[in-house]
């Protein structure tokens, strides 16, 4: 059971490079999530692992074996497609058993009719039937084995696709956005089901998604990709708490991390017109890095909002722009007074808004003046020019 090693793997279609040199090592039995916006190259990456897309340069290894030139079958993998790719002309039983049937394929199965009979015979063999029944029972498909895919619901099709991947007991499971065609409720059920599956089969999973909730809840490790470049590779907690750059910071988390632009001066860090109280030490450290500009990343739940007439340390004047009541918590979107547009990056740059996540009800409504604050030790610092996280 392999450790997957990417050694400078890259992919280009003609002059168009979709994956730039990629290095990583995925330990055995991990649940690796490839996360990124659409078009970032994550599916291409998965297909290269599967052997469906050729690797342009670099080396892909399963343990010590270079698999660049191995056919998908010889890589001992299973692949769950976004569209499920069930075989519409076969019943559920044949769909699930198909990898086993192909394991027993002989050259003379190419002869018409003879081959068809041979495949049917394999399907009826006791060991094959037993495996199919076991997998079907595990995924609650027993009642549907004699139906065709057309007669199944979306969730059932999804489970058939999973069953087909389970049947051969491969070393690596590759899943390409398998939940994107399901409705919200079913999706959260299947998230739990797939996590449970991973715990049960104890194999390496590589899971592609653009949904950060899936990534955070299911992954043991996440690779964040953008424009074919790996932004960060780490555990969900690392990625959430210590994002490697402003892209990861604003891509992960809902609402995204707030990133303020600040300028260090003699009296402290200045965000727009406001000097952050008690930031003189921090400002000195910023200046000692050689540039006065710095970005401050603050998670929405680390931001406190007070009514406009509140007084206190460390508060910046702002104005409420959006209030979303979610029941247990409230998301407040706000704009800093007198600083429109100049100091924002990431998701906030389009709306000019920052977000705070507060528990319970908040006595604020749209257009109310307010005062926001955050503790400096909750800040993640990013270099102004490169956007990379820095330690101060």
């Amino acid at each position: 059971m392999p450790t997957i090693t990417f050694n400078g793997v890259s992919k280009s279609f003609g002059a168009n490079t979709v994956i730039k040199e990629f290095n990583a090592e995925v330990p055995d039995k991990d649940f690796l999530v490839l996360l990124g916006p659409s078009g970032c190259g994550k599916s291409t990456m998965l297909r290269m692992i599967a052997g469906l897309t050729e690797i342009t340069a670099g080396e892909l290894r399963f343990d010590d074996t270079v698999v660049n030139d191995l056919s998908p079958k010889r890589r001992n993998i299973a692949f769950v497609f976004q569209s499920y790719a069930l075989y519409p002309h076969m019943k559920v039983r044949s769909n699930i058993a198909f990898p086993l049937v192909m394991d027993n394929f002989r050259w003379w199965h190419h002869i018409p009719i003879v081959g068809g009979l041979a495949r049917r015979a394999i399907l009826k063999r006791a060991d094959v039937a037993e495996k199919v029944d076991a997998v079907a029972a595990m995924l609650e498909l027993t009642d549907y084995l004699d139906r065709r895919p057309k007669a199944l619901s979306g969730g059932q099709r999804q489970r058939v696709a999973l069953a087909r991947s389970l049947i051969r007991d491969p070393a690596v499971y590759l899943l390409d956005e398998p939940l994107s065609n399901l409705d919200a409720k079913l999706r959260s059920q299947m998230r739990a089901a797939i996590s449970a599956l991973h715990a049960r089969v104890r194999k390496t999973f590589v899971y592609v998604t653009h949904d950060q909730v899936e990534a955070m809840t299911m992954g043991t490790r996440i690779i964040v990709l953008n424009d074919g470049v790996v932004q960060q590779y780490g555990t969900p907690k690392e990625i959430y708490d210590r994002p490697a750059n402003t892209f990861v910071a604003t891509f992960i988390g809902s609402p995204p991390m707030n990133v303020f632009l600040a300028e260090a001066g003699a009296d402290g860090l200045r965000v727009g017109d406001h000097v952050l109280p008690g930031s003189r030490d921090a400002a000195e450290r910023v200046i000692s890095r050689g540039s006065a500009m710095i970005r401050l990343g603050v998670r929405a739940e680390k931001i406190a909002i007070h009514p406009g007439d509140a007084t206190g340390e460390n508060l910046i004047e702002a104005r409420v722009a959006v209030v979303e009541h979610l029941g247990a918590e409230t998301i407040v979107g706000f704009a800093l007074e007198g600083t429109e547009g100049v100091n924002v990056v990431g998701a906030a740059s389009t709306s000019g808004l920052f977000y705070a996540r507060l528990t319970g009800e908040v006595p604020l409504s749209v257009n109310d003046p307010c005062r926001v604050g955050f503790a400096l030790d909750a800040v993640t610092w990013f270099d102004h020019a490169s956007g990379r996280r820095v330690e101060l």
């Binding site: 469906l52 497609f81 790719a85 002309h89 199965h109 190419h110 081959g115 495949r119 087909r164």
Partner: protein, 278 residues
């Protein structure tokens, strides 16, 4: 407004009736002639509504002419041969054209289309000299070989159009499950395009069934004539009763009409898709 719509339906029905009569009359006339006694036909006494009690005469040629059955048998052999050879080649070619990008694909695609332009009357001259030197004149398989060259490209267009609609992911999934290219074609693609395979088979079969020029040129041995050559030999011939000739024409036409009616939709979609992209 209502009046005009009704008028529309009326005009439409009237026009349709006219077209049905124009299209249907010659077909009806085959039946009519087949069940009218030969001496009545030559006496100028053929009625628009014939005596239906002679309906059994539709099949009279089966009784009156032993050679007709043999000719039909030869036609079946030629048509089946054309179907098998044409479909085999067309399936493989269509898969390449539908699923791969390769150097020379455009040229080859045009080559397939170009066969639609080749006059058989030109090809028949060199083919005759080719077959003569290979000793393939008077052989049914020679006819199969010549017919396949014309039936196969059309079948290829139909099959390619059908294959184009199969999602790639399904084939990739089959590859992960251990299928080679040939297995994918056999186990996945062919069953999925079965209706179009049937349509292509109908086209190829009746290409061989209907073909006259090659048959009449390459086959001189009367025992090896196909039904089209045999029936054509009755043209201007007065020894065989005309009602029997038309009974033969009816029996020769019937299977073609029935199968084309069943398959027409798929045949048309394949033909147009193929030629538009050709």
């Amino acid at each position: 407004m209502i009046g005009r719509r009704n008028l529309g339906v009326g005009v439409r029905t009237l026009l349709a009736a006219l077209l049905v009569i124009l299209a249907g009359f010659p077909l009806y006339w085959i039946l009519n002639t087949a069940i009218t006694p030969s001496n009545t036909l030559y006496g100028g006494g053929q009625k628009i509504f014939p005596d239906l009690s002679r309906s059994a005469h539709l099949f009279s040629v089966l009784v009156t002419d032993n050679s007709f059955l043999r000719w039909i048998g030869n036609s079946v052999v030629v048509a089946l041969g054309t179907t098998v050879a044409g479909l085999l080649l067309a399936t493989l070619a269509a898969y390449a054209l539908s699923r791969y990008r390769f150097v020379g694909k455009g040229i080859m695609g045009f080559g397939f289309f170009a066969t639609q332009m080749l006059p058989e009357a030109l090809l028949v001259v060199p083919l005759y000299s080719l077959f003569a030197s290979l000793g393939m004149l008077n052989q049914l398989y020679g006819l199969v070989l010549a017919n396949t060259a014309f039936a196969m490209p059309v079948a290829t267009f139909i099959l390619k159009a059908a294959m184009d609609s199969i999602p790639y992911e399904m084939e990739e999934s089959a590859r992960v499950d251990g299928c080679g290219a040939l297995s994918i074609l056999q186990i996945m693609v062919v069953p999925l395009i079965a209706p179009s395979m049937a349509a292509a088979a109908v086209i190829a079969f009746f290409d061989g069934w209907n073909e006259y020029l090659f048959a009449t040129t390459f086959i001189t041995d009367e025992h090896k004539w196909t039904a089209s050559t045999g029936l054509a030999s009755f043209i201007g011939e007065f020894l065989i009763p005309l009602d029997s000739v038309f009974s033969g024409a009816f029996l020769f036409t019937l299977p073609a009409v029935v199968f084309f009616l069943i398959m027409q939709r798929r045949i048309v979609s394949g033909l147009t898709a193929g030629s538009v992209k050709g």
